[in-house]
């Protein structure tokens, strides 16, 4: 089943009885404010996601929070807004000028389809010897590649930035034999957008 089919089936299920009583609204507001311990947030969201009434309250609080945040960004004094607009214009014109003078060949332009990023090494599910070598397919217009190594529980172990398309995990990162790890790569393109690879899980010998 693809994501859409799963979503349709899940939403079609009869509303489940929420776990326990409705939480105090102040606790739901804490979620939106970003306070509280992770275990509490998970327990609270578990209730909220199963309870249409609390979900509506969460979304109302999120709307209030996001609205306030966005409204605030508009409250620069007018003279600063004018200065910022002028600065953006100058930077934009300079960038266009520099890119035209320094780049003899126009870069590839992607229309519709985003470029894909695929890890070549290690293969998903493989067990590899140390030092572990990572390699991925080059992405046209990639400015840098950001690589993240995660534990199987999703905790970040290490991250690197490189302009290359390969990387050997250094000895300073201690990987445990028989343990599983996840790795993924994100390319930042010239237009400052990102392209990410799927997460690949591997084990070490």
């Amino acid at each position: 089943m693809n994501d859409e089919e799963l979503q349709r089936a899940y939403l079609r299920a009869a509303p489940q009885a929420p776990i326990g009583p409705h939480p105090d609204p102040e606790r739901i507001a804490d979620l939106v404010r970003g306070s509280g311990r992770e275990a509490d947030r998970l327990a609270l969201l578990e209730h909220v996601m199963r309870c249409p009434a609390c979900r509506r309250e969460l979304d109302l609080l999120r709307a209030a929070n996001e609205g306030a945040r966005a409204a605030d960004t508009s409250r620069f004094p007018v003279r600063w807004m004018a200065f910022a607009a002028a600065a953006v214009l100058v930077i934009g014109v300079t960038s266009v000028f520099l890119s035209r003078t320094r780049t003899p060949v126009a870069p590839d332009v992607y229309r519709g389809q985003r470029p894909a990023l695929t890890l070549v090494e290690p293969h998903a599910g493989s067990t590899v010897a140390q030092p572990v070598h990572l390699a991925w397919q080059a992405v046209a217009d990639a400015r840098t590649y950001h690589i993240e190594l995660l534990s199987e529980h999703g905790d970040m172990i290490a991250a690197w930035n490189t302009t290359d398309t390969a990387l050997a995990i250094p000895d300073s990162v201690r990987l445990t034999a028989s343990q599983s790890y996840d790795v993924w790569v994100r390319a930042t393109l010239d237009d400052r957008t990102d392209v990410s690879s799927p997460i690949v899980r591997f084990s070490v010998k």
Binding site: A9, L45, E46, M49, L61, A63, G67, A70, A71, G154
Partner: protein
């Protein structure tokens, strides 16, 4: 008689309108009823107007945020206290129980499938379960990460693993194919 809206300064009204635009996006994405955002905006206008009347000169970012959340909390508390405005009535946002064109046998199949998917989600490991629930409810990955205060990578990883576990559980029940898991 002048209304609060008539009296509010241009600056306040600009602030409220900008607030409305961004709050409205979330409300639209999440299918919040229009009455929710209308009530929130009205509450906010009143509070800003009162604050200005009481001599508040500077509407700092912290003040706007505190006021907006406090306004939303008051609406929620009022509604909880008055169950005539039922929060449990989710008719505006609930998904249809089944396709309107489905026949009785198909309806039964869809309902059975829905219950199996719901049970399989219930059986997932805790952190993955919550992320998968949020995803299936239509929350974007960045929204999930923000609410759980997780990194993009961690959210993505747990969601990916959770969906994979879910599909494996469903395949074990004869729903879907093994190729769909990876």
């Amino acid at each position: 008689m002048s209304t609060p809206r008539d009296s509010i300064s241009d600056e306040l009204e600009t602030l409220v309108l900008r607030f409305a635009r961004f709050a409205g996006r979330i409300a639209h994405d999440r299918g919040l009823p229009q009455e929710d955002t209308d009530e929130l905006l009205q509450e906010l206008r009143l509070r800003f107007w009162r604050a200005r009347k009481d001599g508040l000169r500077d509407l700092s970012a912290g003040y706007v945020r505190r006021t907006a959340i406090s306004a939303a909390l008051d609406i929620i508390r009022r509604r909880r206290a008055n169950r005539n405005v039922s929060l449990d009535d989710d008719a505006a946002t609930a998904a249809p129980l089944a396709s309107m064109t489905a026949g009785p046998v198909e309806l039964l199949d869809q309902s059975e499938l829905a219950q199996r998917v719901a049970r399989a989600v219930d059986a997932l490991a805790p952190a993955r379960r919550t992320v998968v629930r949020m995803h299936l409810q239509g929350y974007k990955r960045e929204e999930i990460a923000a609410l759980l205060r997780w990194s993009e990578a961690r959210t993505r990883n747990l969601l990916y693993r959770g969906l994979s576990d879910l599909r494996s559980a469903l395949v074990a029940e004869g729903i879907g194919t093994r190729e769909a898991i990876t």
